[in-house]
């Protein structure tokens, strides 16, 4: 995967910060995505480009099960989300919609917004600032869903 810019976020980054409640009933993700991270960085939707990365700390995506949270990140072209640990529902939702979520213990402490990184999903490695960081491999079942582009894609293949 080509390199992309990093947008760094803090510990326990809850899904209300990713997309606020009052936008959830908009008709689709295209209309919602312009409000991504509004409470933390209102310009994020303008700054982020396809291929960029979101990096979190512990417990990224905690709180509400709103699938619009990984949804808007994917709609904005975010390549993958890397964090020390993920909240369960966000992690599962991201995989279900085909947005790679990578557990990597060391990277978050070494990088900040604006740095550049490169992710190679196949060999489970992240490269940034001249260093390589090992990523925890996904359970094979989940990797399978991700490779097929998400749960629905895999369902359609089964049909």
């Amino acid at each position: 995967m080509p390199s992309g810019a990093i947008f760094k976020f803090h510990n326990d980054l809850d899904t209300d910060q990713i997309i606020g409640s009052q936008y959830l009933l908009l008709p689709d993700l295209e209309e919602m995505k312009i409000y991504t991270f509004e409470s933390l960085d209102p310009d994020f939707p303008k700054k982020v480009k396809a291929g960029d990365y979101v990096v979190g700390e512990e417990n990224f995506g905690c709180g509400s099960s709103r699938e619009q949270a990984p949804g808007v990140l994917k709609a904005l072209g975010v390549e993958a989300v890397i964090a020390k640990s993920f909240a369960r529902i966000f992690f599962r939702n991201a995989i279900n919609i085909g947005l790679p979520v990578i557990v990597c213990k060391e990277l978050p402490d070494e990088v900040n917004t604006g740095d550049v990184m490169e992710l190679s999903l196949s060999d489970g490695v992240v490269r940034a600032k001249g260093k390589e960081y090992a990523c925890t491999k996904l359970p094979e079942y989940m990797q399978n869903i991700l490779n097929q582009g998400g749960l629905i894609a895999s369902l359609n293949k089964e049909d």
């Binding site: 326990d12 809850d14 209300d16 910060q17 606020g20 409640s21 009052q22 959830l24 009933l25 908009l26 008709p27 689709d28 993700l29 509004e38 409470s39 933390l40 512990e58 417990n59 905690c62 709180g63 509400s64 099960s65 709103r66 699938e67 619009q68 990984p70 949804g71 640990s85 909240a87 369960r88 529902i89 599962r92 939702n93 279900n96 919609i97 359970p139 079942y141 998400g150 749960l151 629905i152 369902l155 359609n156 049909d159």
Partner: protein, 413 residues
């Protein structure tokens, strides 16, 4: 080797004799619930993304409009209409404006031993009746709706042995916030919080709902109690029978065990902006508030309305405060009407709204403005959760919230 309640429910749903943490199984789902937070996306995916759109079993599905009721703008109304039309077309049970989804599920559907997926993170509430309820996104929900099944990573269980009794003026909400404060927002990430011990046996179904409902705030996949006589009595009153009553085996394996002495728990408050930033309530007395909220699927039942009414009877809400009282369901509202509680709140100057999620989820009703402060019995206090990004939300018990509404600042009942 023995299994916990959660493992037994998953094993039954997977049609196998035994499961252990870390396994991944395909399971049959007993029920699926979706509300107006995401169903419009599910319906769109159903029509636009599936090669073969179909519904495995409409009788397993429940659609509930509870988040933005009554609707606050045309786009909300359009999303709800899409959901309503889909339910009508496929003959799916449909509730609108009758209350918060989890309260309606507990009052009308959940049975011990069931495996239930809900497109809402507080689906973990159903553990109060010995069921395995967990929150999923709308893609998971769609997969479950179409196939009737899903994949599950078997979670480890963490045992919370509750001993003794809560002192007067201390409520299950104080207990659960204290636990979350100690173990942290991802203390039980991917794990099940199983509540047991002598102290658990005397808790009512309402108390158990308060604990299980907040288990997701500690990252848990779900919270669960054994379905004992108290649970079965609650079920009988509603003409329902359990699917299966499971007990954890004596030799079941737990990732960790905690023993909690209920008698030392004191009133606590979770400070903005994190649910696990919990301090004794007395440390925050005096903080000015603009709004107080008594409601939500965590703390909006008849028990909490009785506590609030008892405190505010004969008193007035402070002029500087908007005190929002929102019964968790129409059934709770009718009971509160009979007991004269609604009249007490009306007389005190409170704002009594129709049963729904209200300001707990921060949209459509009771939204707070720039730099305003809310004390709430809702489930979350994240940054901007109740409105403006600069606003602050404190989480406290029904007693603390009501006492604060009277004085206009954080006050202990």
């Amino acid at each position: 080797m023995g299994m916990t309640i959660a493992e037994k429910i998953i094993a039954a749903a997977a049609g196998v004799d035994h499961v252990k943490p870390g396994d991944i199984h395909t399971v049959n789902l007993d029920r699926l619930m979706s509300n107006d937070g995401t169903t419009h996306l599910t319906v769109d995916m159903y029509h636009n993304k599936l090669t073969k759109p179909r519904i495995a079993d409409p009788d397993k599905l429940v659609f509930i409009v509870d988040h933005n009721v009554p609707a606050d703008n045309p786009k909300t109304a359009a999303a709800q209409k899409k959901m309503r039309d889909f339910a009508r077309e496929h003959q799916i049970d449909f509730w609108e404006g009758k209350g918060v989804c989890h309260q309606i599920m507990m009052e009308n559907y959940v049975c011990p031993g069931e495996l239930i997926f809900g497109a809402d993170s507080h689906t973990c509430t159903y553990g109060a009746l010995g069921a395995f309820g967990t929150g999923v996104g709308c893609t998971d929900f769609l997969y479950g709706m179409v196939t009737g099944t899903s994949w599950v990573l078997v979670p480890e269980s963490v045992k919370f042995n509750l001993e003794g009794k809560l002192p007067d003026g201390v409520y299950p909400r104080d207990l659960m916030l204290t636990i979350i404060g100690q173990i942290g927002a991802n203390g039980c990430n991917y794990q099940v919080m199983e509540f047991g011990g002598e102290g658990a046996k005397i808790l009512s179904v309402n108390d158990r709902m308060v604990l299980c409902n907040l288990s997701v705030e500690a990252g848990a996949k779900t919270g669960i109690f054994e379905a004992d006589e108290i649970a079965l009595e609650y079920l009988e009153e509603r003409g329902r029978k359990p699917k299966a009553v499971y007990k954890s085996d004596p030799d079941a394996v737990y990732a960790r065990e905690y023993t909690i002495d209920l008698s030392v728990i004191e009133p606590v408050i979770a400070r903005p902006d994190f649910v696990d930033d919990v301090v004794p309530a007395k440390e925050l007395c005096g903080i000015k508030i603009d709004e107080a909220f008594l409601g939500s699927c965590n703390n909006g039942r008849i028990e909490e309305l009785r506590i609030g009414a008892g405190i505010i009877k004969g008193k007035k809400v402070a002029d500087s405060v908007r005190f929002l009282v929102v019964p968790a369901s129409l059934e709770v509202y009718k009971q509160a009407l009979k007991e004269g509680l609604i009249d007490i709140f009306m007389e005190s100057g409170a704002i009594v709204m129709n049963p729904n999620c209200s300001v707990c989820w921060g949209s459509c009703q009771g939204v707070i403005g720039e730099n305003e402060v809310l004390i709430s019995t809702g489930t979350r206090n994240f940054k901007g959760r109740a409105g403006h990004p600069s606003s602050k939300v404190y989480l406290g018990s029904a007693a603390t919230v009501t006492a604060s509404a009277i004085t206009g600042e954080i006050t202990l009942a």
